[in-house]
């Protein structure tokens, strides 16, 4: 019975944490400084392990997926990752065409 309570409590905390994560993602939308912070975060974090990949190497969708992978692999905070994603997506091929 105690195990069930323990699991239920953890599950509740997890769902609350997911809610906070979604809220944080909404707050950073339309932030004009995201691009600048993203460029800085890109230069600082990528080189910790490998060469910096150019924004034009991947599409918007690919970047969203890849930066999420790097968020987990390199323990980069979520807000920093969202900034980096904004920077990379602003400089890739899709945007250049527009």
């Amino acid at each position: 019975m105690n195990t069930v309570k323990y699991i239920a409590t953890i599950a509740l905390l997890i769902f609350l944490a997911i809610g906070f994560a979604a809220d944080a993602a909404e707050k950073t939308k339309n932030d004009p400084m995201q691009f600048a912070r993203g460029a800085k975060g890109w230069a600082l974090n990528c080189e910790r392990c490998h060469n910096m990949r150019g924004p034009k190497e991947f599409s918007d969708n690919d970047w969203d997926t890849i930066v999420t992978h790097m968020r987990v692999r390199a323990n980069i905070p979520g807000d920093v990752i969202r900034d980096i994603a904004v920077f990379l997506k602003a400089g890739n091929n899709e945007k250049v065409k527009k």
Partner: protein
């Protein structure tokens, strides 16, 4: 008679002229009527022309109005088309579910001193599949396909994990994951990231530290002023004895004892690109040399490690030390085993000193490391000192040509030393 004649002669022209005038008056009266009629007719024509002109003017105005309306409609249509295309692009760019295939591959040539046949080889082909739902969940898996010496193909599941982003600073990982111990195994081993061709001594699949584990992991990064505190804590099935001298360090699908492994790494990353990390792991071991099948474990396994790096600009300086020990459970007739591996590495991109489009892409690399594996205090034949030196040429940020020399000096005299001349093409995609 004469007078009468004279009168006649005199009045005759007068009469004739009067007659002529009278006729002309009649004619004049008739012409005036005609002119009036013509004038009336002309006036009617002019009136009709003016009416026609008015109608044409109205038609022109209508035409202009319609042209303006058409122009307005065209503008609206253009605007609508543009807004639709924008909506379409936004929809295409941000679906809730996204996926990508990345990974790396390598191929090369190696000549080895001491009689071993020189060979071409494929290092590996390692596709990584990522599936992401919003900013919350990501599933990712890496396969490693390798061509063996006998021509057969070996495919391994390097990791297969579900990442649940709990908040900006914490992620829950479930499944088979790369071990968070140290820096090289988890983050630096892909061919396009590894500065040399081979791994450092002792950091291969049968080395000092686990390659992967199966279980649950909490990890993330917490900003603190100019630092980011990074952490990863994992609970898993843990390693097992493979042979007398080696541990099987890849993640197992089931636990062969009742002891789960506990592993973790905490690091401090400063904005000056300096990172220092500490690793620890404890687990129970069973497998080879077990004398009692009822035992939950035959040895206690402990690992600790420290790693440091400086990665500012063209520099890539790294150090890593890992030490592990398997201590037999009291009462068992087993020998203690220890493994220790360390390496130091320096790499420098010439882009730091030149803008030349060719020379700036070269990167000299040097690495030195040692690996000692002991059973009961005696060194095993895999123990070695390893020198690596070479040059990488970066065709793109993730595509490198490597030309390296590797010297392996074994501690045990029965094992012949080797010098390896290596060429490798590494591609991260």
């Amino acid at each position: 008679m004469n007078r009468l004649l004279k009168k006649k002669i005199l009045y005759a022209p007068l009469f004739a002229s009067m007659l002529f005038i009278g006729n002309n008056a009649v004619y004049a009266q008739e012409g005036s009527i005609n002119y009036k009629n013509k004038i009336i007719e002309l006036e009617a024509r002019i009136s009709s022309l003016e009416q026609l002109k008015q109608e044409l003017k109205e038609l022109k105005e209508n035409l202009n109005t319609k042209t303006d309306k058409i122009a307005v409609k065209e503008k609206k249509l253009d605007k609508a088309i543009k807004s639709i295309s924008k909506i379409t692009s936004v929809k295409e760019g941000s679906p809730d579910s996204k996926w990508a295939v990345t990974g790396y591959a390598s191929a090369g040539f190696q000549a080895v001193s001491g009689g071993t046949t020189d060979s071409f080889g494929v290092g590996s082909y390692s596709p990584i599949f990522h599936y992401r739902f919003k900013d919350w969940i990501m599933f990712e898996a890496e396969l490693e396909a390798v061509t063996e010496d006998d021509g057969s193909t070996a495919i391994d599941l390097e990791y297969s994990q579900i990442n649940l982003m709990l908040n900006d600073n914490m992620t829950l990982v479930v499944g088979k994951f790369l071990s968070p111990i140290g820096a090289f195994q988890e983050r630096l081993h892909p061919a396009w990231i590894n500065k040399s061709v081979d791994r450092p001594a002792g950091l291969s699949h049968h080395g000092v530290a686990p390659g992967s584990d199966m279980g649950v992991m909490l990890r993330g990064g917490i900003p603190l002023d100019d630092f980011v505190i990074q952490y990863a804590f994992a609970v898993g099935n843990g390693p097992q004895f493979d042979t007398e001298s080696e541990l099987a360090l890849e993640g197992f699908g089931a636990d062969n004892d009742k002891n789960k492994s506990l592993a973790g790494r905490v690091s401090l990353f400063h904005k000056s690109s300096i990172e220092v990390g500490f690793s620890y792991m404890t687990a129970g071991l069973s497998g080879a040399e077990d004398t009692d099948s009822n035992l939950t474990r035959s040895s206690d396994y402990r690992l600790w490690g420290v790693d440091a790096s400086y990665t500012e600009g063209p520099w890539d300086l790294r150090f890593e030390l890992l030490h592990s020990r398997a201590t037999p459970v009291v009462g068992l007739d087993m020998r203690e085993r220890t493994w220790e591996a360390w390496y130091a590495q320096a790499a420098y991109r010439l882009a730091g000193i030149t803008d030349d489009p060719i020379f700036s892409k070269f990167e000299p690399v040097v690495r030195y490391g040692e690996f000692r594996a002991e059973i009961g205090g005696a060194l095993m034949d895999v123990s070695e000192k390893r020198w690596n030196g070479g040059v990488n040429y970066w065709m793109a940020p993730s595509i490198a040509l490597k030309a390296h020399i590797e010297r392996r000096d074994y501690f045990v005299n029965t094992q012949p030393d080797e010098t390896r001349y290596q060429l490798e093409f590494a591609y991260g995609f």
